[in-house]
């Protein structure tokens, strides 16, 4: 999954880099060029200006919608009052700076630490119970040879992804709620009903089960793509050498998937503090904040609901900083394992 096209330094140029698709004609043009690093900035600019021009719109979008709003984080250091003016920027200018007061308050706020803890618990439960499932499903689907069966199975697996969370949770409530199908069935046979939907102790598993039901099928797409690129020759060769079904999976299929798995794992870890917002928010009241408050709902509650935007922005900023650290760490680990990871120095 390497996307590097033009290595930036000569040191990197010596590394084996998968080049993007290059047709024979195109390679001719490529070879005519001197190697990168030997040219000055202006020459390279002139050579690549068409490409640069083409990326401009995307860069502008990213700047305007991703980078510019980052400046708004300044309210984390303010007692921000969004209502003093109709314009957010004017409001920022009119709100008093309070230094690190919001951060001090957050670090002393047990609700915040509770949210951090819940976030990590959910992340680990999801990592253990959710992450492997799309891989297994992909292997399963891949082993089905009849195209029609395969297409139907894929369609069935993808479909729940397009349901909204409200709907998914309503379905779970109808099945597993206190007056749901399961409970009434139990009661009709003389047992006590159980209410899985409001039990804080099993909440991480409930949430993960919902995620699996909704999104595991969707998650197999990437793995299926990776599997499709494995050359059939390898399987045939392995079979010739007497490798059975399991050995072929172990020595051919899984190694082929390894870079993808590593990449997704790094991305997932970098996103560790984001464990699903809407899904959790909808169920937060049902299990109480001790089990159901995560960092994102904490930010939402304090900012949007209580209009304490400075406090919420501070919590969000902490989350952002920790997330960067996690991405860097996960990427490092991926390198140590000999994988590409998300980027290379």
């Amino acid at each position: 999954m390497s996307h590097s096209t033009v290595p930036r330094s000569s040191a990197e140029a010596s590394m084996p880099v998968k080049t993007p698709v290059a047709s024979p004609d195109a390679t001719g043009a490529r070879e005519a060029r001197p190697g990168p690093g030997k040219l000055g900035f202006r020459l390279r600019f002139r050579r690549d200006r068409a490409l640069i021009l083409m990326t401009l719109p995307a860069i502008v979008l990213v700047l305007v919608f991703n980078y510019l709003p980052i400046l708004g984080n300044v309210v984390a250091f303010q007692d921000y009052d969004p209502y003093v003016s109709d314009n957010g920027i004017v409001s920022i200018l009119h709100s008093p700076f309070v230094g690190l007061e919001n951060f001090q308050e957050i670090f002393g706020d047990s609700a915040f630490w509770n949210a951090v803890q819940n976030t990590f618990v959910l992340f680990f439960v999801q990592l253990l119970l959710f992450f492997p499932i799309p891989i297994l499903l992909a292997l399963l689907i891949n082993s089905v040879l009849r195209p029609r069966v395969r297409a139907v199975a894929q369609a069935v697996l993808y479909l729940p992804h397009f349901f909204s969370w409200v709907l998914v949770i309503a379905v779970f409530q109808q099945m597993f709620g206190g007056a749901g199908m399961l409970s009434q069935l139990l009661r009709q046979h003389g047992y006590n009903g159980i209410d899985i939907m409001t039990d804080p102790n099993t909440f991480p598993f409930l949430v993960t089960a919902q995620s699996v039901w909704k999104d595991a099928g969707w998650g197999i797409i990437v793995f299926l793509a990776a599997l499709a690129s494995v050359s059939q020759d390898l399987y045939e060769a392995a079979a010739m050498d007497g490798a059975g079904r399991w050995r072929r999976m172990w020595h051919v299929t899984l190694p082929a998937l390894r870079p993808v798995i590593a990449l997704l794992l790094v991305l997932r870890v970098g996103d560790a503090l984001t464990v699903g917002f809407e899904q959790i928010l909808l169920q937060r009241d049902a299990v109480g904040p001790d089990a159901g408050e995560i960092l994102d709902t904490f930010v939402w509650w304090n900012g949007v609901h209580n209009q304490d935007f400075g406090y919420a922005a501070a919590a969000g900023l902490i989350k952002g900083v920790v997330s960067i650290g996690l991405v860097l760490a996960a990427n490092k680990v991926a390198h140590l394992l000999g994988e590409q990871g998300v980027y290379k120095k």
Partner: protein, 564 residues
Amino acid sequence: MTPNAASASSGPSRRSFLASTAIATAAVAGGMPLLAACGGSDSGSGGGTTSGKNAKKILPAYVASNVVTPDIPSKNGSAMGFTSKLDVATLKTSVPKKLGKGGKVTIMSPYWGSPPKGNNPYYTGMNSLIGVDVEWRNQDGNTYDQKLGAVLASSDIPDVVVIPGWNMTGRIPSAIAGKFADLGPYLSGDKIKEYPNLAAIPSDAWQRSIFGGKLMGLPMPAPYVQNIVPLYRQDIFDKEHYEVPKSADEFTALCKEITNPRAKRWACGDMKWTAFNTFGVISGGEKTLGWTVVDGKMINRIETPEYLEALEWARKLMAAGYVHPQFKLGKSQIGDPAPLFAAGEFLIWNDDISNWYGRQASQITQNPDFKCWGMDLWGHDGGNPKLWAANPAGIFSFVNKKASESVIRDVLAVANVTAAPYGTKEWMMTNYGVEGTHYTLKDGVPVKNDKGNNEVVNAFVMVASPAATIAHPDLPDYTKAMVEWQQRMGAFTQKSSFWGLQITEPNRYTNLADNFEQLEDDIVRGHKKISDMQQAVSDWKKRGGDRLRDWYKKLLDENGSAAS
């Protein structure tokens, strides 16, 4: 805080109530005693209140309107009731000339239930009656607080925003003062006489519409008797010979008798708000109502032992399994409990008083045996209840500060129609819709059909309403029962120290109590303990609760109380 909401209960519940404009104070010959001095101790973002001479300068004149004399006059803070037959043929006209200039007005408003399509016959009928093109932006009433703060922080605020008092949490009061137009130049003093139906709105409701020293809100006047009634399925009670309880213990025993999960039947919904009422907890309706002087000391409701006892009682009901499981889910996904109530899955529901009529009217068309009735509130120990008064206006609409004069005039034209009193053509149109489309005359009595029950609900009445009125020509015995319930409960009702005032707290204290309602609900659901509440209260004191107490004390010393 969400008094009416009874979180779960508000549901679509309040729709019919609003449709019926059922509210009412009697009002006010001359308004309530106004306060002596002005302003709190702080000014500007420091908060405070406006009363006395300063208020008098901006309050509109009061010109009573007597279209029809009520059959049951207001007493003990109740609404006035109209029970005799309404002669639809001789309705009076209170707005002889269309005041609207044909402009377009967008209104954001809370809505309980599923809003009808934008160009339905009710909306278009009202628009042509008023002469203004009103476009509704309805938002779910149960979670309105979650959207309001963000909308007000944006630069794209609709022409009119409806804000209930119980949604004025956090910094919303300062947003109101900063973002909305001063209506004083159009309504103060005799200027209001241009809009006679608005001039007939009692002065205590207008007094509550003063924010930051300016007349900003168009009020919906309300009875001061609190609005949550334990409604119950009288048809099933009669069939099973259940007795209406008169104490907390009797209620619990009844719940035990009713509950049979195997047959898919539970006793009640979340009874938190009834618990507060029956245990005599100081009002949780609005921040300022929660403060009062007891034995010479300024206290807040959260500091009282009754508060904890009430929560503990409500928690026990849920823990014992008497509450329908749907209510354990909490506000964000409670859905609509009305079908469960109609199906008899639970029999007691604390709900807004308007639904006493509303549930009956909407169910009777499908189930002729259905009978919904209200219980008198009991004292938890079996004696009389000790109730705390609600404010004389609970819902307000505000006009965007950026609106031009012509938009403001158009909004006032809308309000002048929706505030028309009972017995006028405008009232009939606002509350019953178009004859033949939304209601039919049966023996001369207007009866809403399903289309009427779906479309003619809480939209236009939110803009402004007449002095609190209960009038349901189709079910006069319900009208009578509701007004008499208010009068009986009104006799046990007292006013807290800041009743009737619109108070803005200083900015630094506004977020102090944000999480208490959530904590209450978590305790009732067993996710938090009573000791967590005690901890939260002691934290609250340290973080500013005690300083806020001093602020309120000073405000009271300087202004005196409205209720005394």
